[in-house]
């Protein structure tokens, strides 16, 4: 099969090996950007190639835009990371030796995520997610400061447990499918599972889902499985924070949703919607409160990622065309906006030389452009119009209030709490008497503002095919 799919997987894989050999960081960064760009091209090409469907791989409405999104964010982040890492080298926070691993791992992660997205085989899906996780573990620890290692360890241990549980869930899925579909690969092919879902044993399927929920939920960062997430975001290099929040969480959620579809297709399984709603609301409220006492700006936005993952989980738990649509839209926008925010935050932390919120003041005076970027990002992530997240929250709140008023009230309360915290911190950072250096900033604003522009566009106008994809998937999600 010489479809774009091949390149989608082959390019990053090849780049991983190649980058492993290259010591010089400029070339490495350049190659990184090129490879990501090529991957993006391949991903876009998927739109025009005809849909693939084998026991191993599949391209359908659900993953096609996620693949493109992933490739896109990967590309922009690689651009951002080129300038960012350059600065880190100058101030000697990183050494070229580790940079070699950095770029290689970056591509490895991209490859793994693409694999996870396009794989039709639930086992392969699992492999993809796990490889992506492990490669990010490495990158989180790359600064080798004690707290970075601490974060990496936390991530590693919790991640591994998650891995194990998710794998057990996968085994259960196979066990439940094998009698119906027969042994071997077909019994792990997702679309076949979906087709024969009704015949499965409900009990075992529910059990499987519980393990998958906990396993992948750890990756999604749902409370109470979230512990690794804030530290990993705060201590790793910012580009990694961007892809973690922007992509990896999405991929994990995507994996979970694939299985949610299986259960949705089955009439009498456990009501997983309720469980997801509960987890979502817990994450939302919890992170909303956690936002208030944050002192580290990257950790702040890490918690906001937990919050938004909670919102999405709530939406998918709610189900129904509107809520699911909202959830899917929210996924897309969150990865765009949150990565944009991390771009801004990365540069801010560099120009101010600190991540402590209390030491960053009056940014709108010293660095207006960065300030505007951050402000727009926070406005967008807080779900204010005219950015797209308002659309998704609008649909979610209205539709769920019409169906489950009390739950919707909890949701609204959580949104408000989190909003209050975010705006409070943003005002602290942007306004007031400026402090810290006002020096010029060697930053690449393009990724930041491109992301924001896309988020803005989504708020005002969604392209037709995208809407159709969302609706189709929303229907499947039940």
């Amino acid at each position: 099969m010489t479809s774009p799919l091949t390149y989608l997987l082959a390019i990053p894989a090849a780049a991983t090996l190649l980058l492993g050999l290259i010591a010089h960081y400029r070339i490495g960064a350049l190659l990184n950007v090129l490879a990501s760009g090529a991957t993006l091209v391949a991903a876009v090409a998927l739109l025009f190639a005809d849909r693939v469907r084998t026991d191993i791989f599949i391209i359908d409405d659900f993953n096609i835009y996620l693949v493109i999104l992933t490739a896109f964010v990967g590309f922009t982040t690689s651009i951002f990371s080129a300038t960012y890492i350059g600065h880190e080298l100058e101030i000697g926070k990183l050494t070229p030796v580790f940079l070699r691993f950095y770029h290689a791992l970056y591509q490895a992660m991209m490859a793994a995520m693409n694999l996870a997205l396009v794989s039709n085989n639930v086992g392969l899906l699992w492999v993809g997610v796990e490889v992506a996780t492990l490669s990010t573990v490495m990158m989180v620890g790359i600064y080798r400061t004690p707290e970075a290692i601490e974060a990496a360890w936390k991530y590693f241990i919790l991640g591994s447990v998650g891995i194990a549980l998710a794998f057990f869930g996968t085994i259960l899925i196979y066990l439940v499918a094998q009698p119906v579909i027969g042994e071997g690969l077909p019994a792990m092919a997702w679309d076949l599972l979906l087709r024969n879902g009704a015949a499965f044993d409900a009990k075992l399927l529910s059990l499987a889902f519980v393990f998958l929920l906990v396993g992948y939920g750890t990756k999604i960062g749902l409370a109470p499985f979230h512990a690794w997430l804030p530290d990993a975001h705060a201590e790793g290099p910012t580009p990694i924070s961007a892809v973690l929040s922007g992509l990896l969480l999405n991929v994990a959620l995507y994996a979970l949703l694939r299985f949610k579809m299986l259960l949705a297709a089955h009439p009498d399984t456990l009501n997983v919607g309720a469980i997801m709603i509960a987890l979502g609301l817990i994450s939302l409220i919890f992170s909303g409160f956690m936002l208030y006492r944050r002192r580290d700006i990257k950790r702040l936005f890490a918690y906001s990622s937990i919050e938004h993952m909670g919102i999405m989980t709530f939406a998918f738990g709610m189900g129904g065309p509107l809520a699911n649509f909202a959830g899917l839209l929210h996924m897309t926008l969150h990865s765009l906006i949150k990565s944009a925010i991390f771009f801004a935050v990365g540069h801010i932390a560099q120009v101010k030389g600190t991540q402590r919120i209390s030491q960053i003041r009056g940014l709108s005076v010293t660095h207006p452009v960065l300030a505007v970027g951050l402000a727009l990002g926070v406005i967008a992530i807080a779900g204010l119009p005219p950015f797209g997240m308002f659309l998704s929250e609008f649909m979610l709140v209205t539709s769920s209030f019409a169906r489950q008023p009390l739950l919707a009230l909890v949701l609204v309360a959580g949104l408000l709490i989190a909003f209050g915290a975010l705006v409070l911190r943003m005002q602290d950072v942007l306004f007031g008497e400026p402090n810290g250096p006002a020096g010029g900033v060697k930053a690449s604003y393009i990724p930041l503002f491109v992301h924001l522009a896309l988020a803005l566009m989504a708020g005002l106008w969604l392209p037709e095919p995208m809407v159709n994809w969302f609706r189709a998937v929303a229907a499947q999600l039940g």
Binding site: W153, K154, I157, L158, V161, K203, S206, L207, V210, F211, V214, T218, P224, F225, A227, W228, L270, I275, F286, F289, M290, L291, Y292, R293, G320, L322, G362, S364, I379, A382, P385, P386, F390, L391, F394, M395, V397, T398, S399, S400, F401, A402, A408, L409, V412, L415, L416, F419, G420, A421, V423, L424, Q427, F431, G432, E433, G459, L460, W461, V467
Partner: protein, 669 residues
């Protein structure tokens, strides 16, 4: 056609905003931007007015933007046309004022781009015909004004004000969101047309009403949701304060009317009861708070709260009459409310402009440090006096007309066949009378302390009148106050289609009545003629003056103050604003506020000065908002411990969750 013009205006505003970003740093920028605002809002004003009088309304327009699949819907009906009129009038005035005032802006990039954006948002709210477009515009408006509040961001209290403002605003938006969610139903009929057709069961209608009351009320400044208003409105530059107080609160009221009278339109007695009660309380408390302020702009902001209360009383009465199918009184009450909307936008903008002029001239917002400005800034003094008289509901100015009409509606109240309403209507009438008296006291205090007496500081002594653009804007508004006070008939007729669209009835045609007087219901019942009153006043006043000057004496001698023979030259012995309100504070305030008065009287013989200090707190903080914020903060503190667990404990969390879920599965059959 008006719809297209309106849309063009919105686009033009946005373009102006972008332009402002581009040229912001140039010296000519303010003139250009404000000029653009003047032009655009003049166009919008014209089209809205034309639409209202010619009845070229209810045109629809579907935008490809907005909600997926359905897109955004725009529509201008009589209601939105009227409010477009209000908004663009305010924009026009603010623009003219800004041409002069904006020159002194320290950091124009923090102001210039956002005023057009703000106006665009407000215009768009009024044209929206589906929930999503409405809320987008609504929140956009809040955002723009939030940044404007932060224009002078280095002052700590401004940042705080902006923060409280934006949080309250989005809380309100969420309430509206929920209301629309109920109206739209689970299948998401977000278009207003669909909502109108869907008949709501009483429970839903009631819920929607409450949510709308909270959502729109928090933006309009209904007590006790008003706390952000007196903080945020003064913080912005004065012409923006004028827009916020004079215009944005009206947009909020529009939102309330739109939902309650148009989308739901099944008013029940209990709803109207709530609205009337809240309106009355808001009116009295608002003006009482205003009385106790020392900061000019904050005083004005609080008086906005009062006027919002009066408007809500009118709306509540309209709901009550509508609920009992008393169409004509309903029309009267509604017209009164709408007229007050218009009038308040006149004199509140005027007053804020005046305050801006004073603040700019003297650099002081604390009225206790001003005084005697009537001699330094005669023009500002005249227009400000007119504004004060108008807002104190004194004939023959416009404030009186709308309040008089509200009273007329109240006097019909007893005919309502509903116990609660029967009893509350006279009570609220008394409350409104009280509010009117307080308003008079409040503005006597304001004008007396700021413009009369002797200058208390050098700043006040060296003040000077403002530039001619600002003065032009203020004079124009003053003229409007006069005009709509003396010949309100045409305005009332102009409002007829609006009232008819909302309550299926209109006030009697005013234009036919002799001597241009106005008749709310029937000539035998009550009537008022500002024109004749005014001419009588002028005639008799001028007559007596001339007679005396002619036949008696016109000799005048200037000398020192007499003051009962014990004149005290020092400036501090004049009555200050806070001493002016002391009796009222003692009589009314003590129960309603937590007021801290401390007197330090040094022992006889010691040279220390005696000190008197007075602190007034808004009890809403003490009892509602303070505890709430503290609760959140403590909760955050307690949860925060979860940030510092060891990995093992985190694993325990995971394990526990897993076990719980497994037990759920095991238990589930």
């Amino acid at each position: 056609m008006p719809l297209r013009i309106g849309l063009a205006c919105v686009v033009a505003y946005l373009v102006a905003a972008v332009l402002a970003v581009v040229i912001g740093r140039r010296r000519a920028a303010p003139a250009v931007v404000y000029g653009a605002i003047v032009a655009i809002s003049a166009a919008g004003l014209g089209s809205a007015f034309f639409a209202l009088v010619s009845g070229d309304l209810n045109t629809r327009l579907a935008l490809p933007l907005g909600l997926p699949l359905t897109g955004g819907a725009l529509r201008i009906d009589a209601l939105s046309a009227f409010f477009l009129l209000v908004v663009n009038l305010g924009g026009l005035a603010a623009g003219v004022y800004g041409i002069g005032y904006g020159r002194h802006e320290r950091s124009p990039l923090r102001v210039l781009p956002y005023i057009p954006a703000y106006l665009a948002g407000m215009n768009f709210v009024l044209m929206a015909d589906d929930a999503f477009t409405f809320l987008v515009a609504w929140e956009f408006m809040s955002l723009a004004s939030w940044i404007l509040v932060l224009a002078d961001h280095r002052r700590e209290e401004n940042a705080r004000a902006a923060y409280i403002y934006i949080v309250m605003a989005s809380a309100g938006t969420l309430c509206l969101l929920l209301a629309f969610g109920l109206l739209a139903g689970p299948h998401g009929g977000y278009a207003f047309t669909a909502m109108r057709e869907a008949a709501q069961p009483p429970l839903i209608a009631g819920l929607v009403f409450l949510l709308a009351l909270v959502g729109a009320g928090s933006k309009a400044g209904l007590v006790p949701l008003h706390i952000w208003l007196p903080l945020a409105h003064p913080a912005a530059p004065s012409h923006v304060s004028a827009l916020m107080s004079g215009v944005m609160t009206k947009v909020a009221i529009y939102g309330f009317i739109r939902i309650v009278f148009d989308l739901v339109n099944e008013p029940a007695s209990w709803m109207s009861l709530i609205v009337i009660a809240f309106g009355g309380v808001t009116a009295v408390l608002g003006v009482l708070y205003a009385l106790l302020q020392q900061d000019i702009k904050r005083l004005l902001a609080y008086s906005t709260v009062e006027n919002v209360g009066i408007i809500f009383v009118g709306l509540g009465l309209a709901m009550a009459f509508r609920a009992h199918d008393m169409a004509v009184p309903a029309a009267l009450a509604m017209t009164a409310a709408l007229l007050h909307v218009l009038n308040h936008s006149f004199f509140k903008s005027l007053l804020f402009f005046g305050a801006g002029a004073v603040v700019h001239a003297s650099g002081e917002r604390d009225m206790e440090r001003l005084g005697g400005l009537i001699r330094r800034m005669p023009h500002t003094a005249i227009v400000f006096l007119i504004g004060c008289a108008a807002i104190s509901a004194l004939p023959p100015l416009n404030g009186f007309v709308s309040e008089w009409m509200t009273f007329q509606a109240i006097l019909v109240g007893p005919q309502l066949p509903h116990w609660g309403l029967k009893l509350i209507v006279p009570t609220v009438g008394a409350l409104l009378a009280l509010a009117a008296a307080f308003a008079a006291a409040c503005f006597v205090k304001l004008f007396g302390t700021v413009f009369l007496g002797r200058a208390r500081t050098a700043a006040a002594r060296n003040a000077h009148d403002v530039d001619r653009f600002s003065l032009a804007a203020m004079y124009a508004l003053a003229a409007l106050c006069f005009l709509s006070g003396v010949v309100p008939g045409p305005l009332i007729d102009m409002l007829a289609p609006v009232a008819h669209a909302l309550v299926r009835a209109r006030m009697p045609e005013q234009s036919g009545i002799a001597w241009l007087s106005i008749v709310p219901i029937a000539a035998s019942r009550s009537s008022y003629n500002g024109l004749i009153i005014l001419s009588f006043l002028i005639c008799s006043g001028v007559l007596t003056a001339t007679v005396i000057h002619r036949f008696a004496t016109r000799a005048t001698r200037r000398s020192a103050i007499w003051d009962c023979g014990y004149p005290d030259p020092s400036l501090v012995t004049q009555y200050s604003g806070s001493s002016f309100v002391m009796p009222i504070r003692r009589v009314f305030g003590a129960a309603l506020f937590d007021i801290r008065e401390t007197v330090e009287m040094p022992p006889p013989g010691s040279a220390k000065p005696a000190r008197f200090s007075l602190k007034v707190f808004d009890p809403a903080w003490r009892f509602a908002y303070g505890p709430g914020t503290r609760a959140i903060w403590t909760a955050a503190g307690k949860l925060n411990r979860l940030q510092f667990l060891t990995i093992r404990r985190y694993l325990m969390l995971v394990f526990a969750a897993l076990i719980v879920l497994l037990i759920v599965v095991a238990a589930w059959r």
